[in-house]
Amino acid sequence: MVTFLGIELKTPLVLASGILGNNAGILSRVHGAGCGLVTMKSIGPARRDGHNNPTVIDLGCGMINAVGLPTPGYNNMDAEWQALSDRDFPLNASIYGGSVTEFVEVARFVSDQGPDCIEINISCPNSDHHGMLFGVDEKAAHAVTAAVKRVIDVPLIAKLTPAAPDIGRIAKACEDAGADAICAINTAGPGMVIDIEAKMPVLAFKKGGLSGPMIKPIAVRCVYDIFRAVSIPIIGLGGVTTGEDAVEMLMAGATLVGMGSAVRYRGIQVFDMVNQELNDWLAAHHTTLDNIIGAAHPGDSGADPENKKQAGPDTIPAPPGGTP
């Protein structure tokens, strides 16, 4: 059992937004398979079909996707909200909008449906008009976080993009605006895969976000930077597939560890498997989850925000240019 933002979770594992979270049945099943906190697919202001296929391609070392934020629209999901109202698992509702006004409109409605927390997706690279602009600009990130925070009754999580030149500063802006936690990272890139016989990009949207094992070092670096910049808890995700990956993410500073693409490589049961592997690792090293959070940060315990502040937010320089 872990407590996160006052929510009791049976494991420190989180289902990433955009993976499977399409109905109450599958969310319940993922929870049953060992996931502490399940996240709904991002909910937008109006019905949107997303892109034509190909939208999701496996590359072996991870995936590239441009699904394009499909959503029935927040006010077109009555049956789903009904099915979720008598759930027996903690629920994170991911939302997006094309403007602060749209974010607020969606957030206000979704908050009334009683999720355990709301995640603002200010980081999706797969739409020309939604999301990511907020996640690469401190002022915009602050504005949308503050505006959403004012209209919701549940904890607020800001989901960030590794495309930000300094993700620590974005995280700090969200914290200052009232975010209760940070979730990092969304997909990296965007990247592109061209089929040399077809002589065109494989994805219908041409470019797409990268996920899975190939982005884990980027994700670990981002969580590390964010941990030094903020005092609120972090959901660390990006390429985590094994218990040892989870340990690495926790040591970078995550309180919870998310998984998405890992479902491709190890199935829905990956949550039970990683939880077991994590517990085995902790037992073999005679330590606890709390003890390893932020353990990779030199000169401070990581778990104590006071120590962290003494270490200073910028002792580790951000790499030039953000993501490759």
Binding site: N53, D195, A204
Partner: protein, 273 residues
């Protein structure tokens, strides 16, 4: 060899036009085949859709296309030498029961995944194929085994539903104290598969049916194809009756491209566009 990662571009090697409605495209490549598995077929610049494998030999496989929507009309119009991208195979496929007492029930283009299954089952199987009219019958010369036909207009053999014949055969076996079916396999319109499932449940006969939902990734992460708590592309597309009885979305609800759940009839009319 075809893989389940990024699409591999293949030439259409050969095309068989069965009738004005159905065509089969053949590709010269090896693929890890099992009856009921499917591939994602990419027409560059247009879209990518799931198709079941309807023919398979070690160095060649084929997909059978019913030209009815925007994509399938374009796919059916492809000619030898045209490129398509293929990734897969995906999904579980049918469990093959080595028994002479099995039935195969096909409706319309639901014949496509069942045909290679029939070729691997005991030749004494009971085999029913339903179609709109005799003109819609697929693979007229393909099978060595006896096939019973039903048509909506009575233009070939029995006029009525596939379940009419299946129910009669189940009753006959009961009345004549012959071994009952150990398994019934079905693929066709979901309403038909549900009728087969309901009939089998009433007689305590296990069945396997192959479901269809809008798909994106094909490998169980995007969630577009969920049916209740099952992921059709990886948990299925073939489901056993013990799973089907827990899937309340079966024959009732499917998700549109936006993820919005709608009544199956609305979903079906959207898919045929």
């Amino acid at each position: 060899m075809i893989f389940d990662q990024k699409p591999k571009m293949l030439f259409v090697a050969e095309k068989t036009v069965h009738n004005p409605y159905f065509s089969t495209l053949f590709f010269n490549a090896a693929i890890d085949f099992h009856p009921g598995r499917f591939i994602m077929v990419w027409i560059p610049g247009m879209d990518e859709k799931p198709y079941t494998i309807s023919f398979h030999t070690p160095a060649r496989f084929g997909i059978t296309i019913e030209a009815k929507g925007r994509f399938s009309r374009r796919a059916a119009a492809l000619s030898p030498g045209d490129w398509v991208g293929i990734r897969g195979p995906f999904g579980n496929g049918f469990d093959i029961i080595p028994s002479p007492d099995v039935a195969v029930v096909a409706g319309g283009c639901g014949m496509a995944p069942l045909a290679p299954l029939v070729e691997r089952l005991d030749p004494n199987l009971y085999f029913v194929h339903g179609a709109r009219t005799k003109d819609f019958i697929l693979y007229s010369q393909r099978f060595a085994v006896k096939r019973h036909f039903t048509t909506d207009d009575g233009s070939l053999e029995h006029r009525g539903f596939v379940t009419d014949l299946l129910a009669a055969e189940i009753r006959r076996r009961k009345d004549q104290a012959q071994p009952q079916f150990d398994m019934v396999y079905a693929c066709g319109p979901e309403m038909m598969m549900h009728a087969v499932f309901t009939l089998c449940q009433a007689h305590g006969i296990p069945c396997q049916v192959s479901l269809e939902r809008y798909m994106r990734c094909g490998f169980g992460v995007c969630g577009a194809c969920v049916c209740s708590d099952r992921v059709v592309c990886t948990d299925g597309p073939v489901f056993h009756s013990d799973q089907l009885q827990k899937m309340t979305d079966f024959n009732r609800t499917a998700l549109l491209k936006s993820g919005q759940p709608v009544a199956l009839s609305e979903y079906v009319s959207w898919r045929c566009q």
